[in-house]
Symmetry: none
Subunit: 229 residues, 2 copies
DNA sequence: AAGTTTCCTGAGAGTTATCTGAATATTTAT
DNA sequence: ATAAATATTCAGATAACTCTCAGGAAACTT
């Protein structure tokens, strides 16, 4: 019930809310603020286990905030959000220890996966990094997908789509849901692309499975069936 | 969980925090201070197993601090931090016993590696100095890299990059993370240089391996695969 | 059974990531 | 001082990937 505490820092209310909702749903305790000053006090007050920090804030940048936090003795990991096209995207040198970067625009599931990966390493909770559903297993550290001992090569999007399906076994997920979770939040294309990628996945995976992998629930979406449960 | 105790001494909060976070993540117990006077009392109080000491402090220099510490009976090793342009011969007199020095700006992984090397010698902990991943082995003391009994000559940067990859087997590391850990902390160049060095490493290593060494995980980073896991 | 809707998949255009050779700059060694 | 080794930048080539579209197949409706 009481998952790790996460502080979300972004000045765009849209993204803040998007992240807050997603992380709450993923089982984290979430608090969100919109500027650097509020970050400092929120950290001192709550001592979050991880901070999701946009490096472009109205009052300070990621450097200053990190500096202030580390100076105040805060040592928990930070996941930095950086704009990909920004002229000032040379913000290397920020990640120490278990920190990591994610570029905007990101996909919601990608953020959750990265947060889990960091906490797995820093909080030493014996959490499994391998997902297993039926005959498929996916190692989230090495990004490898296995069926039996056959390694399946997947493109980034194929990998993220499969991960989302594997995180929701025995549950029908709609194309709209998939689009919201797997694609970047500013993607404004057609839901038909999900069909294409489901097709790609089937082509790569089905030759190695004993039965078809991804079930189509006509009119509703797709589902990955797990024999157990 | 209780690693060796390390005292970090530097007057620049930036570097102090960078070091603190990195060393904590590496499993050390870390305390940090910012001047010579605080160093003396911290040592007497905590009896650290190693001190990371900037030689240019506001109140005393490395000579004085070391002299005072040795005079007080403190015998544990010291890793000195020196500015590159400062006269290095002054340092040579300081590093006696198990001591060592590193020039600023340093790379975070280099510091951790040097500390580990010193502690290996002084604390006699039966810790392995040879890294092995798949067919490659690396002796961190002699800086030699082997594939089978073939010795591979690597430049300093090539060596550090390979070490970082070998310390993270079966885990995808992004180019930004590599840059932050392997290159000096003030490097503000492009991440493309990582691509160049990966290319160099492959050219030198792949002729001797049975399968390609460094795997590219397009869109995510690079990974070194270890057969056992 | 015919019509309608939804889904599947191949083809292709456009984009992006990565690799590598070569040029330049810098450091180290002689 | 000069030469050699190493570090960094750059740009073209290549390969991989993303996304759209459209015809046909399958499933559902009437």
């Amino acid at each position: 019930m009481a998952g790790p505490k996460i502080l979300v820092v972004d000045d765009e209310p849209n993204i803040r809310d998007l992240l807050t909702a997603s992380l709450r749903f993923a089982g984290f305790q979430v608090r969100a603020v919109g500027n650097g000053a509020a970050t400092i006090s929120a950290v001192l007050e709550d001592e979050p286990d991880l901070i999701v920090l946009d490096v472009m804030l109205p009052d300070m940048n990621g450097f200053s905030v990190t500096k202030r936090l580390r100076g105040a003795g805060y040592t928990s990991p930070i996941l930095f959000l950086t704009a990909k096209d920004s002229t000032e995207d040379k913000i290397t040198g920020l990640t120490v220890g278990g920190d990591d970067y994610v570029t905007k625009p990101f996909s919601l599931d990608e953020i959750v996966a990265r947060i889990r990966a960091i906490l797995r390493r820093t909080m030493m909770e014996e959490e499994e990094s391998t997902l297993k559903v039926g005959e498929i297993s996916m190692d989230q550290d090495s990004h490898e997908v296995f069926i039996g001992d056959e390694v399946i090569e997947l493109s980034p999007t194929e990998f993220k789509l499969l991960r989302y399906l594997m995180l929701n076994p025995n549950r029908v997920v709609s194309k709209a849901q998939i689009l919201d979770h797997v694609w970047e939040y500013d993607f404004n294309g057609d839901a038909g692309i999900v069909e294409s990628y489901v097709s790609y996945l089937r082509r790569k995976l089905d030759p190695f499975t004993s039965e078809p992998l991804i079930q189509t629930k006509r009119g509703f979406g797709y589902m990955l069936k797990s024999p157990k449960a």
